[in-house]
């Protein structure tokens, strides 16, 4: 049960949240212009790194908002959470 800091509400246990997959995968502005391979890349390819991972969470049983989070997938330690539209901390 991770402890996750919602940027709006503060630290809350993981079961208040819903995981939302890898962050910063923007939906193409003009999907029709994408060929099948590029579209498949958007839909399915994920970096799945062993190490720092930028990912989305939603405080679904709290404020309801989506936000981003950087977590080390080896230790599960969260180093930062930030709001959508903000750039990930380095």
């Amino acid at each position: 049960m991770l402890l996750i800091a919602c940027p709006w509400c503060g630290k809350r246990p993981e079961n208040e949240f819903r995981y939302g997959g890898e962050a910063h995968i923007a939906r193409p502005l003009d999907p029709a212009s994408q060929d099948d391979a590029a579209w498949a890349e958007f839909l399915y390819l994920r970096s799945n790194p062993k190490g720092m991972h930028a990912e989305r969470w939603r405080h679904i049983h709290g404020c309801g908002r989506f936000f981003n989070c950087v977590r080390d997938t080896v230790s599960d330690r969260i180093s930062a959470t930030y709001r959508p539209g903000e750039t990930p901390p380095r």
Binding site: L3, P13, R18, A32, D36, W39, L43, F66, S75, R77
Partner: protein, 960 residues
């Protein structure tokens, strides 16, 4: 008399409180404060169990939770039988009934012990090498025999009536272990008012101090801690696992030590403690020595014997031999000698006497070790390496100490190997986790106290204490004799030799091949000896052999405690509509849909399901029916950009949908598959009322929020779940308008004024209502939404108003039949997550002029435009088909038979007076008119492919 081996005085037992108990049916007496183990030992009972594989007689090895041998079943009556409990941890209560395990017919005469005599045939991993022929024998002969021989105690046969609870706590400092280091840490941590939780697995706090002479420090410390308001003391509570962000799981035993537990109390509580800082003061476990015959009853860890003497007032023998490599055994020897136990010899393989050895005055044999023992059901003789054979009834051993680093290791911090102690130790303190005392390699009361204080103090600094010098004890054993490394699993040093010879050199391989460390004690007494032997056998230093992972739990945790209160109807909350109780009273049979319970049909006058559903269908087709549609998901979409937003989410176009009108909406995943459907109703230019399926409501809202917040944040639109706000009463049938006309105010519901697929806001009596003219039955229909609190009242009103017209409540089954006659799909039944709109004939829902919507691009992928995709069709069949049955072109061939599709829905159509079915069929629309087959196990059913719509294809009734 509470046992012939009880000392005349001393110990922490209450000599005024005798307790009767039984073991294997025989009655004994013990004292309050005893464990089952100490009470048995006080009565001279050493034989308490049989080992797992060889069924060797076994006694009590330890005095704590590391016990591998003394496992018993406690019987508290039906449903309260608990196997595999450690006698060393069981607090005695009056009337305790304990039984030994894994023996037949009795503990002293165990037929299974025959395996001991043919043990050479069963070396490590023998079962991988045989039992292969003939092939069917594994399943039917060998495996059943192995299964019957394995296992320890028996699982209960009745359901457990006890309750278990979960607690949640937050604290500044969690201290694990209430020995001197833990107590000191708790004192320091709580000095300034910090919130502290102190837990210990034992019934009394004090740890090693409990086996010392009565100490005023302990009493005063406990008093001080008890008086501090922010301190929670939890005896009988095991910290069993560390989890990310300093969450620690504690298992608290609440009633197992009571003869007559208060039925209001739970049996156990499981605590989730989130701590800013964790201080681990879990102590250390004494190591056995590995020599032939080191497993007989009467062979015990040296310090355990001292604990039985000092804490429980029990002399565990009369003539003792001690084998040790560690100075702590001398203290035990001296204590026992003072109590009148004859110490015949101390074999210490070290060549030079330590200070402790010299000071003890015990008969010392330097450079010697134990090499063999004899005795049938108890040790009677110990043979030393100098050839001397000494008669004894007690053999004490100490191969050093293994710090309990389990929780520290789980905190994902690295361990280091300490050469002096020959053990793995925690590394540096971290912001989250500190170790203190014996589990940190710090021994000696003063050092433990000092380190404990520092660990408890937020600003405390760690000092390094040199651990006592220990030496590798376990040598690769000689071939003869069984020298046990893992007592419970009967793993001998010889097994480790075999494993390494066979190439199992990784410690994990050795563990898995020999099962060492995999018994219910999880290697607490065996792991370091295993490592030392494997290191020796493979010619590597211990650190490069490494250690196996310290998995949770530290000691076993009851399933019931982990499950907590989630049982029966608390397993998952049931959602019920406001009309539920009425439905119960009117013969409803329910089904679970998502988390909801929905009425499936209403039985009248003892009719069966078929008749009830047929009656309900007839009523809707011929007069009017009423249906509780409250469970449908409802989302209000508001804001100036609401229409644009819905255009991007749904396949359809809503920008030009007039206020007051509704449109069927299909929602796709980004991969193009149908996710959900419902009605999108425009209440105002900036306000929509959207419905979802019952099971899909939460995931649809999540999906919509995802796109709203992260992909289209520029749109001014807001989403509100209103599922629970509205009760929905569907009135369907040719007489629907007549039924509701007298009830509705403020809405002109005339056919022309309020056409099919429209919505109006008005009232039912005084109650505000949203009335939809929609239909999922193919008949003229309305869905009346009223605030949920008024749902039942309005239901009654509709029912009363409809009674003259023969209105009939109907359930989900009739709803399914009626919609299937009309060819309407149900998401999750006709669709399965692989279906796109065109498969369902729903191309018409797609807004032609829209540039994009979620899932649109995916519909252009090669596989989505294949001609042989499965498409929705109807089937004419001579009987009601089985849902899930497959469709084939030729049923006469043998498997594998090419399948063309499957039956998704199949019912008796009361309206058409024949069976109907819907199916997803490969290139189905092109096959309309063809005959296909539905193969059943015993026959094949010929079916004709039709359009999916079989009732009122012109939809004239909808528009009536």
């Amino acid at each position: 008399m509470t046992g012939a081996f009880r000392t005349p005085d001393g110990g922490r037992i209450d000599r005024t409180r005798p307790l009767a108990f039984s073991f294997d049916g025989r009655g004994y007496s013990g004292l309050r404060g005893d464990t089952l183990a100490s009470a048995l030992l006080a009565n001279g009972v050493h034989l308490v169990g049989r080992s797992f594989k060889y069924h060797r007689p076994r006694g009590i090895l330890s005095a704590g939770s590391e016990e591998p041998n003394a496992l018993v079943t406690i019987d508290r009556g039906a449903g309260r039988i608990t196997p595999n409990l450690r006698a060393t941890q069981l607090e005695l209560y009056d009337g305790m009934r304990a039984r030994s395990q894994n023996r037949f017919p009795s503990l002293a005469w165990d037929l299974g012990a025959v395996s001991n005599t043919v043990a050479p045939l069963f070396p490590a991993g023998f079962y991988y090498k045989t039992f292969m022929w003939p092939r069917v024998f594994w399943r039917h002969v060998y495996e059943p025999a192995i299964r019957a021989a394995a296992g320890l105690g028996r699982a209960p046969v009745a359901a457990d009536p006890d309750r278990y609870l979960h607690y949640y706590a937050h604290c500044d400092v969690l201290v694990i272990g209430a020995g001197p280091a833990g107590l000191a840490a708790a004192l320091a941590a709580s000095a300034n008012g910090a919130r502290v939780v102190l837990c210990d697995e034992q019934p009394e706090l004090g740890g090693s101090l409990l086996a010392e002479a009565a100490s005023s420090w302990l009493r005063e410390t406990l008093d001080t801690l008890a008086q501090r308001a922010e301190v929670t003391l939890l005896p009988r509570t095991t910290a069993f696992g560390w989890f990310p962000d300093n969450l620690v799981g504690l298992a608290q035993r609440v009633t197992d030590h009571l003869a007559h537990p208060d039925p209001q109390l739970p049996r156990e509580r499981l605590w989730h403690v989130r701590a800013s800082r964790v201080v681990i003061a879990a102590g250390a476990v004494e190591r056995p020595m590995v020599f032939a015959g080191n497993d007989r009853p009467g062979i015990m860890l040296a310090d355990a014997a001292r604990i039985y003497l000092r804490r429980y007032g029990v002399k565990v023998g009369t003539r003792a031999v001690i084998a040790t490599t560690d100075d702590s055994a001398y203290a035990a020897g001296v204590a026992l000698q003072q109590a009148g136990v004859a110490i015949c010899a101390v074999a210490d393989p070290r060549t030079e006497a330590s200070d402790a050895a010299r000071a003890s005055g015990l008969p010392l044999l330097l450079g010697a070790s134990a090499v063999a023992t004899s005795g049938k059901l108890r040790v009677s003789r110990a043979t030393l390496s100098n050839g001397e054979a000494i008669a004894c009834d007690l053999l004490l051993m100490c191969g050093g100490w293994t710090p309990s680093v389990h929780l520290y290791s789980q905190s994902r911090a690295r361990l280091r190997f300490d050469e002096r102690l020959q053990a793995f130790l925690p590394g540096e303190w971290t912001a989250q986790v500190r170790s203190a005392g014996a589990c940190n390699g710090t021994f000696g009361l003063e050092a433990c106290l000092e380190e404990g204080y520092a660990a408890g103090d937020a600003t405390g600094v760690r000092r390094h204490y040199a651990p006592p010098l220990s030496q590798p004890t376990a040598q690769p054993a000689v071939a003869s004799g069984k020298a046990f490394v893992d007592f419970q699993n009967d793993v001998t040093a010889r097994d480790l030799v075999i494993a390494t010879q066979e190439g199992f050199r990784s410690i994990e391989h050795v563990k898995r091949y020999t099962t060492t460390g995999m018994a219910t004690d999880q290697g607490k007494t065996s792991s370091m000896n295993t490592l030392a032997i494997v290191a020796g056998l493979t010619g590597r230093p211990v650190p490069s052999v490494g250690h196996t992972t310290f998995r949770m739990p530290y000691t076993p945790v009851t399933f019931g405690a982990l499950a907590g209160a989630a049982r029966g109807h608390l397993f998952e909350p049931v959602r019920r509509t406001p009309i539920h109780d009425w439905a119960v009273a009117n013969g409803a049979v329910f089904e679970n849909v998502g988390t909801w319970q929905r009425a499936r049909w209403f039985t009248r006058n003892g009719e069966d399901a078929h008749r009830a559903v047929a009656r309900e269908c007839r009523a809707v087709r011929n007069a009017a029916g009423m249906f509780d549609a409250t469970t449908l998901g409802k989302i209000e979409v508001t804001g100036p950009d609401a229409a644009e937003y819905l255009d991007r989410l749904y396949t359809g176009s809503f920008a030009r949908l007039a206020p007051g009108r509704c449109r069927y909406g299909v929602l796709l995943t980004e991969a193009g598959f149908v996710m959900d459907d419902g009605v999108v109703a425009r209440l105002a230019p900036d306000r929509f009322h959207v419905t979802t399926t019952t099971g899909g409501a939460a995931s649809v809202l999540h999906h919509m929020e995802d796109y709203r917040q992260t992909e289209f944040p520029e749109l001014r639109v807001w989403l509100t779940s209103v599922t629970e706000q509205w009760a929905v009463i569907a009135v369907q049938g040719p007489l629907a308008r007549q039924v509701i006309t007298p009830l509705i105010t403020g809405i002109d519901i005339a056919a022309e004024a309020m056409p099919h697929m429209s919505v109006r806001e008005g009232r039912v009596g005084e109650i505000p209502a949203r009335v939809f003219r929609v239909s999922f039955t193919g008949e003229l229909g309305y869905e009346i939404n009223v605030p949920a609190d008024y749902g039942l009242a309005v239901w009654h009103e509709v029912h009363a108003a409809g009674e003259p017209h023969g209105i009939t409540p109907y359930g989900t089954e009739a709803m399914h039949v009626l919609r299937a006659e009309k060819g309407y799909i149900i998401v999750g039944q006709e669709t399965d997550g692989t279906v796109i709109p065109t498969d369902l004939g729903l191309d018409w829902t797609i807004g032609r002029t829209k540039r994009d919507f979620v899932g649109k691009r995916s519909l252009a992928r090669p596989d989505m435009i294949r001609a042989d995709r499965r498409q929705l069709v109807g089937l004419v069949a001579p009987e009601v088909l089985e849902e899930g049955a497959q469709l084939v072109a030729d049923a006469t061939v043998l498997p594998p038979i090419a399948m063309l599709g499957h039956v998704t829905s199949a019912y008796w159509s009361e309206t058409l007076r024949r069976p109907i079915a819907l199916a997803m069929l490969s290139a189905g629309r092109a096959r309309i008119g063809q005959t296909l087959y539905v193969p059943m196990p015993d026959r094949s059913i010929a079916v004709r492919v039709t359009e999916p719509v079989t009732y009122d294809p012109e939809s004239s009734r909808l528009h009536a």
